[in-house]
Assembly symmetry: D3
Homo-oligomer: 137 residues x 6
């Protein structure tokens, strides 16, 4: 039996503002700089989700990648695409939408819809140069 | 004498909302769909500016590309990067920030800082799949 | 009034075989080499369609890019995606599906569904290194 | 001594049809959808092979990456490039050429030509959005 | 008859130093900055050559793109790849190897090996952000 | 507590020559081929540095990615960008600047400026096709 990793990539466009309720106005400005701009800014986010599993000898697939895409569309893109994360997405009304917090949130959104132990990695590219990865550790 | 085209690419991250003051609420919703989301959404914009000119035989350059980058940074990125276009950028308080309107605005911002006839093309990628081009026609 | 070029990119996956009915078996082998393989081979084609027009002052758009994408999906992708061009697409049963012939075919498929004079350019990337462009000339 | 991972990327163009001999005609249609098209479809596959080893203090290399490329060309590209996988490649006459099955096949093709324990990972991108990884587990 | 543009892309790796014999040491330092570093620096150059012509009704091709690649390999890559342009390439011993001068040189190297009027454009990407284009004007 | 991996990408342009003082002239020529060209050649290097850590609940960040970029700029780019590695960078006067040796050198340059255990991976792309990775093993 062979264990294979399968990755699906999608993109979504959203705006956000980095601002923590646990920091003062001055601390937020100093730490987040231009990312703290009051009216927010935005990104074309690229999300890569990797699942892990054995190849089903009947189909030759670990999972139908079309099903994986649908789960990502329904539970992530439908909630975050063409939205202002801080204002339109419930969880980010209290959680600062850094890339780090976003991937943990995305992990929690996806995990219940996949088989136990199947979700391996969530990778989020905020820009071509900035990437965050979470493996449920 | 050889005429050469020189292109410099920069990126900036901004949020915007497609909404026209000349259309009703219903028309804006129907025409712009999810891009009309009240709180906006965002993009990593990629801007490519092309100038045209003869090679200076002394330097071997049409223009110092570092100077071109500085003009783009000062007159476009400094105004639009990490901003909400509709709320933070004066011109887009009345002009709908579609990619088409944005490149005409960007052309007008850059042209006064380049030699007469030097600006050839402004290209703006809103996403990997959507691009607008203006050549001053 | 400003004339703007608007480009939309889509991808489709197809197989094809380069083989001309006007050439002998030996000529086809010699000219097309491995692209003449009897059972065909395939590509992830990237198609970029550019339209040209004036910005509508009401909407700020030349054309709704979502409508452009739908026209490309309906009249190109629905016919060619996940197909064997020579065997599944009527026109390529008699026309050799080179990238050059494909873009002229694609131009003819799209033109009737756009305003007169609106279609400006069809660009097809067969691989990252090989591209063909047609402008209706 | 430093352990380093070295990755070489190549591309090849092939067509395939997803169809399992262990499934009925109806099941194949339902599970594989448009990928089950009888005449097949195709991709520009991107293959990344990673080896792992210690740096040779004399050469400063883990392995000559030119040799790695030659092994990949000879044992993978020469067999699969510009081919119809199901019809032209022996193993895929009985094995369904999903990306998952392909990377296990590619691992087996490469392993005998590398030092024991040297092959670390085979990664295959079927499209920009769909990727499979095998680590010999 | 349809006129089509055909583009082939290749890459080559070279080092160069921007330094003009018509400028003083101080002027060279001021104008070219870090590009004037005495021992040079380097790039992965990407070269895109576009030819223009009518589709041959027999073959369905404007030109065999494999022949175009061979001409580019023989007359550009074989001369510039893995070389120090200023020291190893005859013409750049006296001509400052800016991207602008390079594309004019490359145009002259390619033109004699193509049909009259066939060469349309030479585009050179020095980095992802800096590009020069020459059309023989 | 969630452990997250954070990656920052930068590029730098440098020239180098592959040549080992522990090999004869003939061995260097045979092993490194065109990479042994006496005057060197160059690359646009892409460097990806990944750190690992827990999310700070106050900021929502593992580390301020702007600080990571500054460390990479100061301790790598400022030393290697627009330089000839063998001639301008002290360590490569005696160490052969293969990608493998470069990432171990880069690891050692970065590690003292990060928290203990924070540096997870250094990845260097010499070209689009050739990549080396070091994880401190």
């Amino acid at each position: 039996m062979a264990t294979v990793y399968l990755t699906r990539k999608i993109t979504f466009c959203a705006s956000h503002r980095l601002n923590s309720s646990q920091l003062s106005v001055e601390e937020n400005k100093r730490i987040f700089g231009k990312c703290n701009n009051e009216n927010g800014h935005g990104h074309n986010y690229t999300l890569e989700v990797t699942i892990k599993g054995e190849i089903d000898p009947k189909t030759g697939m670990v999972m139908n990648i079309t099903d994986l895409r649908k789960i990502m569309d329904t539970h992530v893109a439908d909630i975050m695409d063409h939205k202002h994360l801080n204002l339109d997405v419930e969880v980010f009304k209290t959680v600062n939408p850094t890339a780090e917090n976003m991937i943990v949130v995305i992990w929690k959104l996806l995990e219940p819809h996949l088989a136990k132990g199947q979700l391996f990695e969530v990778k989020l590219h905020e820009t071509d140069n900035n990437t965050s990865i979470y493996r449920g550790e």
